[in-house]
Amino acid sequence: MGGQFSSPSPQTFGGKVVTVKSKEDWETQLQNSKTSNKLMVIDFSASWCGPSLFMDPVVQDLANEFPDVDFIKIDIDDFKDVADTFEVKAIPTFVLLKKGKERERVVGVKKDELHRVIEKLRS
């Protein structure tokens, strides 16, 4: 068998928060969202922002609570154009995608609100 790489098939993150590492990575994630029925939560974050760091363990808890939801993390400095596309002005910003389209967003540290919209949109 050859070492032929194929792009990763839609994966179950199973409680993992996946940090987007490259442009290709992001395109794959976006494609995954478009072709599946799963809710995707994007955590636009920055390492120099206290409120953003504050949410890291909260997002991990949510990923554990909702293994059927995909959680990805995008650093707004590393992926400035993606952040601009989504008009991210304040951090943290959580964008909820279904079929590649934004359905809701939560701006700021709002644990209860983020929990509520995830529950609402995951089905």
Partner: protein, 339 residues
Amino acid sequence: MAVSGFEGFEKRLELQFSGRDPVIGIGLRELDFKSLEQVLHQVQCTVVSALGNQHFDSYVLSESSLFVYPNKIIIKTCGTTQLLKSVQPFINHARTLNLRIVALRYTRGSFIFPEAQPHPHTSFHEEVVYLEDNIPEHLCYRKASVIPSKLTSHSWHVFSAGAVEYPDGVPYTVEMCMTDLDQTLARKFFRHPNDGKNGDSAGREMTELTGISRININPNAHICDFAFDPCGYSMNGIDGDRYSTIHVTPEHGFSYASFECVGSVYNADIADMVKKAVKVFCPGTVSVATTNASDDMCMRIKGAVEQLGMKCRSWSMDEFPAAGTVVFQTFTTRRNIRT
């Protein structure tokens, strides 16, 4: 006036730092959350919500607000919090980042329930003694003063200390305190039982319904809000490098709301924001303290409040080292002259 109740009047502390390197980087924002939590614990408050941008971090606390800039910390707390206990811990944490305190300013209005305050807030004298004992020697230019008004229930207390005598063209601050809120408007800051909302969504609704969302018309400004159970509301606004903050204690008998914002020569809209904030609450009494604002801006703010039919009862000022000129104005509705 109630015999006892929640103290809405805040204590505000502003600490300015500088480092050896001219480029400070993220400075104080590097303080990890565990350290911040430690300090907040000493002041008896916790983080309820937060939001940041490239200029600063903002936190809504259980008893008001915290703003962390690379070179400045602003913390404002109400109730019976021991705010001054945060001075030493903040200075120590900043030292671990090679940052040195260069100025400190402590301000507050007059407590509605002064007897309920714990040490060191039992009197301004005690607060000043505590500050003198807890700030480093190199902050050698110091001054404490109570700026009076014609209303005995409204004075403005200021303690300022700095390593240099004059402020270096920093932006000006506007601190507004409102009491005797219109009861119909104040009721909007009560949660409805079984509303199916959480503190975040209820807060968002209050921000929209009360007109608070329209105080700052800049579309790039963001609001981080929260509604407390059974009543009470807090918000922090972030707009570039400027913050604004509103806190509401709506209960009849000790109703109170505060509005604070930052301005500079580039912002012509401050007087307008002050006017809109007063309109949200239609209070019986308003006090506005500005620090380092021009006479022109103070006059514009006065004019804006008077346009709402309130009468200016007093205009007093004083000069402070490192902080600049503080102007303290009070207004009451024409029907309402309380002492």
